[in-house]
Structure formats: structure tokens, C-alpha cells
């Protein structure tokens, strides 16, 4: 479960990136985070993972305040950053072992999980190669594997489907659904409205750092009858 209470973040003392944002992602939910470029999506996700410190407000991961007990909160998070170009000099298996050691995963468990993910994302042939030789899509699959290898209950994913081939994207969406159905929470940002529409239990629309809508797609369409999600989104964010 993720709870954000009255979170505000300002850059350089004058650019308000996120303004008094409050939201809750309950266990068993997939929540899609949509908004125009520069709306505050990545900033919010970074505050949830401890990368950025909010100026005001609190973030709780499974009830743990990430500012007060950062290590405990971070242990529960699986995070995919917006760029997969990370530690490219390491081999895939070295990177996964690094992450496994940092999250303190026992030998037998990590072997089993790495094998499962590698098969699911067709990475088995490249685990022994340095990641700088990977394509963008393969790097993204490696980031997904690394984010999930410690079996976190909270998934925070920044544009996780970018660069994935259709099969891997399908796999990841399926995993997100399975994860939520198992009573965990998934929050992900996307610019692909169809994905949000099909996959999410709830949607957050953010604009100028303010959540202008948070609820189910049904609730949204009730407010704007005769319009599809794309039209509603464009209407709500026309001043972006």
C-alpha cells in the first residue's frame, strides 16, 4: 500500500513540480499515473522511492514513513527508473546478483527467481554478456527483472513498457495484474492512454503538479458522457 499525504515539491525555490498531492494506492490495485510532459509524474514517483525529498508532506510504504525509516520502506519497493541505461559495464547476471545482494535475497531463492524471469523475458542467452551490448528493450527487461527479483509488495514503475516488444509488454502487464490480484499494489506512469484504460483499476490524472482526477475509469466517464478517455484527457489537460 502506498499513501501520499499533502506532498509538495519545489525546484530552485520557484518551480512547483508537485503541489499538495494526496493519494492512496490500496493493496490489490493497479493505479495508472497519467499526465502531460512535465506534469509532475516522475517527481512524484521519485518522492515515493526516496530519490527526492518532499518539501512538505509524507510518503508511507506499507505504513512505513520513507523519510523516517527509509531502509525498511525501500526494502518493500520494486522500482523501475525512467532510463534503463544503468551499470552497462556489468554483465546481466552480475547486475542481478548485485541487486539480490543489496536486497539480501538468499542464494537458492535468487537462483530460482532469476531463472524464472530470464525465461519469461527471454534473457537466458544474454545473462553472461555485458549490458552495454544489449538493445534498449533488453535493458528495459533487465531493469524489470532487477526491480522485481526481490519480490517486493509495492511496485512503482516509471514508464515500464517503453522499449518492450509486444510479448514482453504483454508479460509485464500480466505480471502486474497477477501481483495486484495477490493483494499487492502497483503504481505506474504511462503516456499510453489505452494501457491505462485497459489495465488500471484506478487512474490519476496529474497536471501542473496537482491531481485533477483520481478514481476509476467509470467515475471519470460518468463526469464526461459521450467522450472517450483520450478526449477526456485532452479536455482536462488542455492548459498544459
Amino acid at each position: 500500500m502506498i499513501e501520499i499525504q499533502n506532498v509538495t515539491k519545489t525546484f530552485n525555490n520557484d518551480v512547483v513540480a508537485v503541489n499538495n498531492l494526496s493519494l492512496t494506492v490500496n493493496n490489490g490495485e493497479i493505479v495508472g499515473f497519467v499526465g502531460p510532459n512535465g506534469a509532475g509524474k516522475t517527481t512524484t514517483l521519485k518522492m515515493m522511492t526516496g530519490i527526492l525529498k518532499p518539501d512538505q508532506g509524507s510518503v508511507y510504504i506499507n505504513g512505513t514513513d520513507i523519510q523516517k525509516k527509509p531502509l525498511a520502506a525501500k526494502q518493500d519497493i520494486g522500482y523501475i527508473a525512467d532510463s534503463p541505461d544503468m551499470f552497462l559495464r556489468l554483465k546481466g547476471i552480475e547486475f542481478l546478483n548485485l541487486i539480490s545482494d543489496i536486497y539480501k535475497i538468499p542464494t537458492a531463492v535468487r537462483r530460482e527467481r532469476i531463472e524464472t524471469f530470464a525465461k519469461r523475458f527471454e534473457l537466458t542467452d544474454v545473462l553472461g554478456e555485458k549490458m552495454q551490448g544489449y538493445s534498449h528493450g533488453m535493458r528495459q527487461k533487465m531493469m524489470v527483472t532487477a526491480a522485481l527479483v526481490h519480490n517486493p509488495s509495492v511496485w512503482i514503475l516509471d514508464e515500464p513498457l517503453i522499449g518492450l516488444d509486444p510479448k514482453s509488454a504483454h508479460n509485464l502487464k500480466q505480471m502486474m495484474r497477477e501481483h495486484a490480484n495477490a493483494g499487492n499494489s502497483v503504481l505506474f506512469s504511462t503516456h499510453v492512454l489505452e494501457v491505462a484504460e485497459k489495465l488500471c483499476d484506478k487512474i490519476i490524472i496529474i497536471n501542473h503538479g496537482v491531481a485533477i482526477f483520481y478514481g476509476t475509469l467509470e467515475e471519470l466517464t460518468t463526469q464526461y458522457p459521450d467522450k472517450d478517455f483520450e478526449e477526456i484527457f485532452l479536455e482536462m489537460t488542455k492548459d498544459a
Binding site: K46, S83, I93, E94, K104, T107, E129, K130
Partner: protein, 574 residues
């Protein structure tokens, strides 16, 4: 012209120093800059000034004073090429902006001209200062008149144009005609091998110069038998023209200087029209060998380790596998023993100062013959001065060796775009920077003791003293590592085009080195004053200095604990 200026401005902005985020950080950077100026730039310039002045005095007797300044400017030109070649190659061919710039409708020569200008401004600050110091030394010694000082300004600002153009020509030719260097890593490994070979050749060459002394060099220069001069005059004709112009006011020489410098740039630009795109298209940033190990084999090797062990492995693998990091962080630790070896080859252990500088005007007459054999005997007989000199040597060397590499002073900057990794993993910041610090201590310590222990045995130092020197050098090695990581955490360069920029563009290594030199000066002056004015014994001085270093270590550890963690926590850009 407009597009050239815009491109130059863009490339210059990309290689600029990252800006401090708050007032405190900015003040610290200003203080560090002053420190660097005081302990590195000023001494280096002063030494250049002094050598030039002394050489000019000696040469004035035979009326060939200008030969000294020519020699120094030739040497500076050689170093401009050595340091510039990697910078130019990176700027021309391997910076990240290439992929965005290539599709633009810009001529190759314009692109190369803008990149050359950006590299020229970034690279040549130190060279310009050294040229100015040499000219000042020459001018003071030869009592140069006012107008000639004015003439010399031209060279101070433009002398590196030719060697930098040579770097450009060489890069364009190598990249245009070789297929195997289509990869950044291969290129860096290739250039590293060339530099190591040159260095080895230098060391072996120096070993054969048994007759090395300034007097011989001066005689050879005056008699016109100095072959180095003949070669250099062909390679860098601009130096000869420039010296002739500012020393004699010969405007024909000025014309020659301008023509030679601009000619080299024109050749570089003409070559770029033919070869630049051919060389730059199809470059890749890295390579990866296909491993034959199967998944089951790889998984069988996957075993649980502690967080620190895993993080340590990651740091070391990245340092070893990234050619630029390897050169500046690992190899840099093992360069100084080569110079010790060269000195040994020269037979320095049997030389005296008078052997090296036989006709120096200010050689202190009647002083002890300072050579290694004498020092060895004096040490064994318990000479306080020699014991003090060895103690100062150990302190200075361990401090400087530890600050020469960029491991600690780029510990945070190396993370670059994935700096956020440090912040979202469940591993405390203290553990993370502590592990980085460990790497920053291990490699300089390894290189230091590799030479130091055998040297102690050869010198006949008793075991108990070796143990003490080991102890004091250990705490000395820790000090620059602590200050280096503190400086880097305060002002990390997280947005960089290639690894070289991460190490060079915020001058953190330079700052760290200047702080280490400052500490070395402080400790030596303290020791000297205790001995000279308070008549404190050598054992007491050794323990006082040891305690002082421990105190400094503790102070900087506490400071690092507070500031590094806080700076990582508050650092937001990546």
C-alpha cells in the same frame, strides 16, 4: 560564422563545470579553487619561472639566452599533445552529442572547428599559466623591455593552437583510416597502450642518460649539437618564430608564427572535410563479448554476499572495465613507481646535487653531499636531519600518492545519470560511500607499499621503524581519500557526456590533490619547527605528527560522515 559560434557555445556549455546548488557549496568551491591555486598552480608556475630564470642566466653568458625559453616551450608543446590527444579524440568522436549533431546540415569542417575551439578553451588553462611563467622567468632574467612583454602575450594565449591542431589531425587520420577503432573502448585501450609504451620508452631512455646534467644540456644547446632541438624545431616551428618575434621584435617571424599556426588548423579542417564523417559514422560506445557460459552455469555461480561485498565488487568491476576510469583511477596509482625506477636507473643513489647541477649559481657550497649513499649511512648512524627527511618523505609521498588517483574524488560523479540508484536501494548512504572510500584507500595503498616496503629493506631501515612508517603512511593515505570523497559529494558532476568529463570537468581531483599538498606542507612545517625551534627529538616528532594525522583523519571522517551523507541526500540533479 554564426553557426560556428552557436555550435562552439553549445559544446562549451556541455563541458562546463556543474554549478553549486547553494551558497555554502559555492563558497567551498571558491575556497578549494584558492587552495588549488596556492598549492598546485602557484608552486608549478613558480618552479617553471625559477628554472627558466636560472637557465636564462646560464645561457646569457654565451649569448644564447633565447634557447632556454625555446626548450621550455617545446617541452610544454609536447605535454599539450600528450594531454590533449585523448581530449580531442573524445570531443571529436566519442561525445554523446555526436548522434544529435550528425544529422544536422552542418559542414564537417564547421563541426570540427567548433569542437576544436571548445576543447582548446577547456584544456589549456594550465598550459597557458605555465607558458606565462616561463616567459616571466625569461623576461626577468634577460631584462626584457616593455614592448616585448606585450608581444609575448600573443604566444601565451595562442601557443597551444599548433599542438592541439596536431592532436586534431592525428585523430582525424587515425579514425578515418582505421577500421578496428570504431569502438570507444577499443580506442581508449589503444591510446592507453601507446601512452604506456611511450612512458616505458621514456623510463628506459632516461636510464641510459648516465651523463645527465644541466651543464651538458646547455653545452649541447650552445654548440648546436642538441638533437632534441633539431627535431623540435621541425615539429613545432611556431615556437621558434614566436621566440624570435617577442625577443627580437621580428615581425617577419610573427608572420611565420601566424601562418604556421593557422596553416595547421587549415590542414586539420581540410582533412575533416574529407575524413571526419567517414571516421565518425558507425562508431559505437562499447562492446560486449558473447560469453559461452550457460544459464545454469551462471546461476550456479550466483551466491549470496553481504551488501558491502556486492557493492565493492560493483565498484571495482566498473573501475576496471571502463577504460577511462581504469586509467585515471587505477593505473594512475602505478605511474609513480615508474619514475622511481627511472631515477634508480639514472643511478641517483650515487649522485650528488652537484652531479646534477654542477654550475648552478646558487648551489650551497660546503653543504653535505646529498646522495642516497650518504643518506643511507647517515640514517644508520642516527642523524636527526636524515631521520626527519625520511619521515617527511613518507608523509608527503603517501599523501600525494593517495591523492593522485581519481577514485575518491570522483566517487559520486562516476554514478552519473544513475545516481538515483544510490538513493532508492535499501542500503544506507554511509555504507555506500564507506565502500567507495575503501576502494579509494586500497589501490593507492597497494601501489605505495609495493615500492615502499622493498625500498625500506634496501635502505636498511630497522623493522620497528618500517612498522611505524607503515602506520603513519596508512593514516596519511586515508586523509586524501576522505577529503576527496567529501569534495566530490559537495560538487558531483552527474551530467556528463563521457567518462572523461566525469573525472575532469569539476576539477575535484585537482582540488583534492591541492588539499593533500597543503596537508603535506602543514605536517612538514610543523615537524621542522618542532625540531628547529623547540629542539624536540625525532621520536617525539614522529609521534606528534602521527597524532596530528590521526586527529585530521578523525576530523575529516566526522565531517565526511555529516556532509557526504547530507549531500547525497539533498543532491537532486542527475
Amino acid at each position: 560564422m554564426r553557426s560556428y559560434l552557436s555550435l562552439t557555445k553549445t559544446f562549451l556549455a556541455a563541458v562546463g563545470m556543474s554549478k553549486g546548488q547553494d551558497k555554502k557549496r559555492k563558497i567551498l568551491i571558491i575556497c578549494l579553487s584558492l587552495f588549488a591555486g596556492l598549492f598546485i598552480m602557484l608552486p608549478a608556475c613558480f618552479i617553471a619561472f625559477l628554472i627558466m630564470g636560472m637557465m636564462t642566466f646560464s645561457l646569457m653568458r654565451s649569448g644564447s639566452q633565447a634557447m632556454g625559453i625555446e626548450l621550455m616551450l617545446h617541452i610544454i608543446s609536447i605535454f599539450t599533445i600528450i594531454f590533449g590527444i585523448n581530449v580531442i579524440l573524445n570531443e571529436f568522436y566519442f561525445s554523446n552529442d555526436i548522434q544529435f549533431v550528425l544529422p544536422w546540415p552542418v559542414r564537417a569542417s564547421k563541426l570540427v572547428a567548433a569542437k576544436y575551439t571548445a576543447a582548446f578553451f577547456v584544456e589549456n588553462v594550465m598550459q597557458i599559466l605555465l607558458v606565462a611563467s616561463c616567459i616571466a622567468g625569461f623576461g626577468m632574467a634577460s631584462r626584457m623591455s616593455g614592448i616585448h612583454w606585450l608581444y609575448s602575450l600573443l604566444g601565451v594565449l595562442t601557443l597551444p593552437l599548433l599542438p592541439m591542431a596536431y592532436c586534431g589531425i592525428l585523430s582525424i587520420l587515425v579514425m578515418g583510416f582505421t577500421r578496428f577503432i570504431k569502438n570507444k573502448d577499443t580506442m581508449q585501450r589503444f591510446s592507453l597502450s601507446v601512452i604506456v609504451l611511450l612512458l616505458l620508452a621514456f623510463v628506459l631512455g632516461v636510464g641510459s642518460l648516465k651523463e645527465l646534467n644541466v651543464n651538458n644540456i646547455i653545452e649541447a644547446m650552445v654548440s648546436g649539437n642538441f638533437s632534441f632541438f633539431k627535431v623540435m624545431d621541425v615539429l613545432f616551428p611556431n615556437v621558434h618564430f614566436f621566440v624570435k618575434f617577442f625577443n627580437e621584435g621580428d615581425f617577419l617571424a610573427l608572420l611565420g608564427y601566424i601562418l604556421v599556426s593557422l596553416g595547421a588548423i587549415a590542414v586539420m579542417l581540410a582533412l575533416s572535410e574529407v575524413l571526419y564523417f567517414k571516421g565518425v559514422i558507425g562508431l559505437s560506445s562499447g562492446s560486449s563479448k558473447k560469453e559461452l557460459e550457460g544459464t545454469s552455469f551462471l546461476l550456479a555461480k550466483s551466491k549470496e554476499h553481504s551488501q558491502v561485498a556486492a557493492y565493492l565488487k560493483k565498484e571495482i568491476l566498473i573501475l576496471f572495465r571502463t577504460p577511462t576510469f581504469f586509467t585515471h583511477c587505477i593505473l594512475a596509482n602505478f605511474i609513480w613507481p615508474l619514475f622511481v625506477f627511472a631515477a634508480y636507473q639514472l643511478g641517483i643513489q650515487t649522485m650528488t646535487v652537484a652531479d646534477i647541477f654542477p654550475k648552478m649559481r646558487y648551489y650551497p657550497q660546503g653543504a653535505d653531499p646529498i646522495n642516497i649513499t650518504f643518506l643511507k649511512e647517515a640514517y644508520t648512524s642516527g642523524s636527526i636531519r636524515v631521520h626527519l627527511a625520511i619521515l617527511f618523505g613518507v608523509i608527503c609521498l603517501s599523501l600525494i600518492v593517495s591523492s593522485m588517483n581519481s577514485i575518491s574524488s570522483s566517487a559520486i560523479s562516476r554514478e552519473g545519470k544513475h545516481f538515483s540508484f544510490m538513493k532508492y536501494i535499501p542500503m544506507s548512504y554511509e555504507k555506500q560511500w564507506g565502500t567507495k572510500l575503501l576502494v579509494g584507500i586500497f589501490f593507492p595503498a597497494l601501489s605505495f607499499y609495493l615500492i615502499f616496503w622493498p625500498a625500506c629493506i634496501w635502505f636498511g631501515i630497522p623493522l620497528v621503524n618500517i612498522l611505524f612508517y607503515t602506520l603513519i603512511s596508512m593514516v596519511c593515505i586515508l586523509l586524501p581519500a576522505l577529503t576527496g570523497i567529501s569534495i566530490d559529494a559537495n560538487q558531483p558532476k552527474l551530467i556528463w557526456d563521457d567518462e572523461l568529463n566525469a573525472l575532469r570537468e569539476n576539477y575535484n581531483n585537482f582540488f583534492s590533490m591541492s588539499v593533500a599538498i597543503g596537508f603535506a606542507a602543514l605536517l612538514c612545517i610543523t615537524g621542522y619547527c618542532l625540531s628547529k625551534y623547540l629542539y624536540v627529538g625525532i621520536t617525539a616528532i614522529a609521534w606528534i605528527l602521527f597524532t596530528l594525522v590521526i586527529f585530521l583523519d578523525l576530523l575529516f571522517f566526522l565531517l565526511a560522515k555529516k556532509t557526504v551523507t547530507k549531500n547525497i541526500e539533498t543532491q537532486e540533479e542527475a
